[in-house]
Amino acid sequence: MGYKLTPLAVWGYVVAVTIVQMVLVSYQSLSSSFLNPVIIVLAFSEAALIVMFGLQIWYEKPFIILAVASAFFTALAITLALGSIAH
């Protein structure tokens, strides 16, 4: 039974975060400059959980090398592209 708890917990979190994101967007009074970063950070937290348990890094630690390197080069591509915008 124990092996089912982790997937259920991960699923519960990502579903809850999805609902929270939708609820936050429904509030017209919140400014996008506040709201957008919050929504993106929440998305990162979902992704981190999926990478850890769905992509099995929690169970097979060596893959963290590939995960970190991939995240680094992906972040680099996005950062350098956005940073190149002159205005």
Binding site: Y3, K4, T6, P7, L8, V10, W11, V14, V15, T18, I19, Q21, M22, V25, S26, S32, L35, N36, I39, I40, L42, A43, E46, A47, I50, V51, F53, G54, L55, Q56, Y59, E60, P62, F63, I65, L66, A67, A69, S70, A71, F73, T74, A75, L76, A77, I78, L80, A81, L82, G83, S84, I85, A86
Partner: protein, 788 residues
């Protein structure tokens, strides 16, 4: 007999055969590229020349660059990697033999799809190998050739992804016992670095090409809008393009390192520093591409950062140069042909590297950008240093590949003619720093005539050198003298197996230069040798599969259909589907069996399987692929003055519910994987079926959402602006991934209908990784496209 011979070369999956296929095919494409270069140099030899018209010249320049970079230089290094990585690390073959053949056939057909553009209406691609926007837009390049070139590059990107995963997994998973990382030969090390660069750079090109084709065929606006346009393409292309310079160079450097050691009779000086330099080159190579964009008006601070980073990359390369020289210092250097070419590569690289430092300077770069100075520089680095190194590799490993020696006198003549010809072509270009690149002709009063004539004479001399080379190869193959088992006293494991007959005396090889690599391995080296000598000859037809060539043909025909019309596209899809069904059928009936390797040195991946490692490598490249797509979205979003507010176009509650459906499919998949890990397989098929059902529901809702948007009033389509372009392309590509996953789920359900084996359980685990990745991508796509 002939039929068997043809079948062997069409269906082989043996790494040595595939290596030879890469070797021959890359020289074939190299010949075509050289021919185009000769046309260009003939045109530029004298002022006001009319040998080529402007259109033909543009096509020649573009196709020369594409063929040289993607279909000659880089694959030639891969040819040697294919042939020599397994024996160098004591493995029987590459980790995934069929994928290796698939990688080759994708590469070969990709080249044909690109080259066939010459025979399409409007001619071949003509916007330069960099495919700069907006030149590549349908407005400025309406010819099918441009579409075909992008299609060919998509195919070669697929080839590279498959090949990279294969070689990386092989190096990480199939090293013989005792073959620790620091005992790996330097050629293997530098192929490893090359693969790392390919793993994270080619997905950027692939993402860019898909957006480009989407712009050309579907009317999206990634590279035709002001918000995206040329700067977006530059970022996407050069994030791939600058590491690609090193992708072309590093295999040659690895080969040159082997040659320096053997012909200096010395172990490599400061091997650990050389390895560290390799890692530094990999990391820094991704941070310097902006020097290609100094004149595009990018952020000034970032220009300064790129200047510093570009100058920084000269440090590890400088360290390598010192290591080469220190290795040769006071040694008894033997100037055989491989060593001459290695020395030539070193000398040429120093010139190319120094002129590169000039280009890294923001001030100098502005003056030199777009001139023949830059042409001279990058040919010294990409062509000279790489090609001379790879020629050295050919002379070094030819006896191993064929069992015959090449003529030393012809080899030395080839070297002499080539080094004279090469420098005659490209050195004068450093003095043509006021002559623009890619001009079809010039007038006499510019004063460029004499230097251009010199360069053109050099081109003919250089080509003559290659005729000598070809003569040498053919002469050796037909009636060359038999090679000794280890003619150069090589010290790496590949010299312990011997194509020409009996086993080579490995003890002599190991002890002759005081670097007893072989004896330092914990395994019995004889067992290592015997293991990789069984490949091909003894496994024989088990190593044959028609599926790689069929699958590649299907993909090539389908993508050629983008340029030649819908019927060709459909024909390609039919072939592709047929090949896929055949591949799956082979698996279900165990028709392709390759014996597993004995456990070797797998640190740090001792506890995993090679398929899981391969899947992770694939996911790693997918990270960058989707990162570039979503980064492009962020780029245009940031640059675009108006973006529809959340909820104004998309139905958020429905999209949110669909997100939860996909996430729930992730739950059922994860439960299936965890059940297998816990050894309880009772409900696994039901869980897989649930994942399939939820995935299908997700796609149906997604399809319905697309339909509503496309037919709404007013319609929201890919052509209506950047919001539509980004939405349809990103959700479309994600949907394609989900669909591929659903097909794989059907396969899993069919495969497990008659019970479970350890292999089937492992397949579910590996697929679970893919499905989790698809979920993970969506948790970014949903908020970015619907909520913010």
């Amino acid at each position: 007999m002939v039929k068997t011979w043809i079948k062997r070369w069409l269906y082989t999956t043996d790494h040595k055969d595939v290596g030879i296929l890469y070797f021959v095919t890359s020289f074939y494409f190299g010949f075509l590229a050289a021919l185009l270069a000769l046309f260009m140099r003939t045109q530029l030899a004298v002022p006001n020349n009319k040998f080529l018209g402007a259109a033909e010249y543009n096509q020649a320049v573009t196709m020369h660059g594409l063929l040289m970079v993607f279909w000659f230089l880089s694959p030639l290094g891969i040819a040697f990697a294919n042939y020599f990585i397994p024996p160098q690390i004591g493995a029987k073959d590459l980790a995934f033999p069929r994928l290796n053949a698939l990688s080759y056939w994708l590469y070969a057909f990709g080249g044909l799809v690109t080259f066939i553009g010459f025979f399409s209406p409007g001619g071949a691609a003509n916007a330069g190998w960099t495919n700069y926007s907006p030149l590549t837009s349908i407005q400025f390049s309406p010819n099918a050739g441009e579409t075909l070139a992008a299609a060919g590059l998509i195919i070669v990107s697929a080839s590279v992804t498959v090949g990279t995963i294969n070689i990386l997994t092989t190096i990480l998973f199939h090293r013989a016992p005792g073959m620790t990382f620091m005992k790996m030969p330097m050629f293997t090390w530098f192929i490893f670095f090359t693969m790392l660069q390919m793993l994270w750079s080619f997905p950027s090109l692939l993402a860019g090409l898909i957006m480009l084709e989407s712009d050309r065929l579907l009317g999206t606006m990634f590279f035709t809008s002001v918000a995206g346009g040329s700067i977006l393409w530059d970022n996407v292309f050069w994030f791939f393009g600058h590491p690609e310079v090193y992708v072309v160079l590093l295999p040659a450097i690895g080969a040159v390192m082997e040659i320096f050691q053997v012909f200096s009779n010395r172990a490599l000086y400061a091997k650990k520093v050389a390895v560290g330099a390799g890692f530094a080159i990999v990391a820094i190579s991704f941070m310097i591409y902006g020097h290609h964009m100094f004149l595009t008006g990018i952020n000034v601070t970032e220009q300064e950062v790129f200047t510093i980073n570009t100058e920084t990359v000269s440090i590890p390369f400088g360290a390598l140069m010192v290591i080469f020289i220190a290795t040769m210092y006071r040694s008894a250097v033997k100037l055989a042909t491989p060593m001459l070419f290695a020395l030539g590569s070193l000398a040429i690289f120093v010139i190319g590297g120094l002129t590169g430092v000039f280009n890294s300077s923001l001030a100098l770069d502005i003056a030199q950008r777009g001139t023949f100075f830059v042409v001279g520089h990058f040919h010294y680095v990409m062509v000279g240093a790489s090609l001379f190194g790879l020629f050295g590799a050919t002379y070094y490993w030819w006896p191993k590949m064929t069992g015959k020696m090449l003529s030393e006198s012809l080899g030395k003549l080839h070297f002499t003619v080539s080094i004279i010809g090469f420098n005659l072509i490209f050195f004068p270009m450093f003095f043509l720093m006021d002559m623009p690149r890619r001009i079809v002709t010039y007038t006499a009063d510019t004063g460029w005539g004499p230097l251009n004539l010199l360069a053109s004479i050099g081109a003919y001399i250089f080509i003559f050198g290659h005729i000598i080379f070809l003569t040498n190869l053919l002469r050796s193959y037909a009636r060359g003298p038999p090679a000794a088992p280890n003619p150069w006293n090589g010290t790496t494991l590949e010299w312990t197996s011997w194509k020409g007959g009996g086993p080579s005396p490995i003890g002599v090889a190991a002890s002759s230069i005081g670097r007893p690599l072989l004896s330092s391995l914990s395994a019995d080296p004889h067992s290592v040798r015997s293991s990789h000598e069984t490949v091909g000859s003894e496994i024989g037809h088990q190593h044959w599969s028609s599926r790689p060539i069929e699958l590649s043909l299907g993909l090539a025909v389908a993508l050629a259909g983008l340029g030649f019309g819908f019927p060709i596209f459909v024909l390609g899809l039919v072939i592709l589907a047929w090949a896929l069904v055949g591949w799956v059928s082979d698996d279900l009936h165990d028709k392709f069996l390759v014996p597993d390797e004995q456990p070797g040195n797998r640190w740090p991946f001792q506890t995993t399987t090679k398929l899981k490692l391969g899947m992770w490598a694939f996911i790693s490249s997918e990270f960058t692929f989707f990162g570039v797509l979503l980064g492009s979205y962020a780029f245009v979003r940031y640059n675009f003055s108006y973006w529809p507010p959340p909820g104004s176009i998309h139905n958020i509650p429905i999209a949110g519910a669909n997100t939860i459906i996909l996430l729930t499919s992730g739950l059922t998949m994860l439960l299936a994987v965890q059940s297998i890990k816990a050894g309880t397989i009772k409900h696994v098929r039901a869980l897989l079926g649930s994942t399939l059902a939820l995935g299908v529901v997700f796609m149906i809702i997604k399809g319905s959402e697309w339909y509503d948007l496309l037919t709404g009033s007013p319609p929201f389509t890919p052509q209506t602006g950047l919001p539509g372009s980004t939405f349809f392309v990103i959700t479309g590509i994600h949907g394609a991934h989900v669909t591929a996953g659903l097909v794989a789920l059907v396969y899993l359900l069919v495969r497990t209908r008659n019970g479970w084996t350890p292999g089937k359980r492992a397949t579910v685990e590996h697929f679970g990784l893919y499905w989790a990745f698809v979920d993970m991508v969506w948790v970014f796509v949903f908020p970015l496209l619907y909520l913010v």
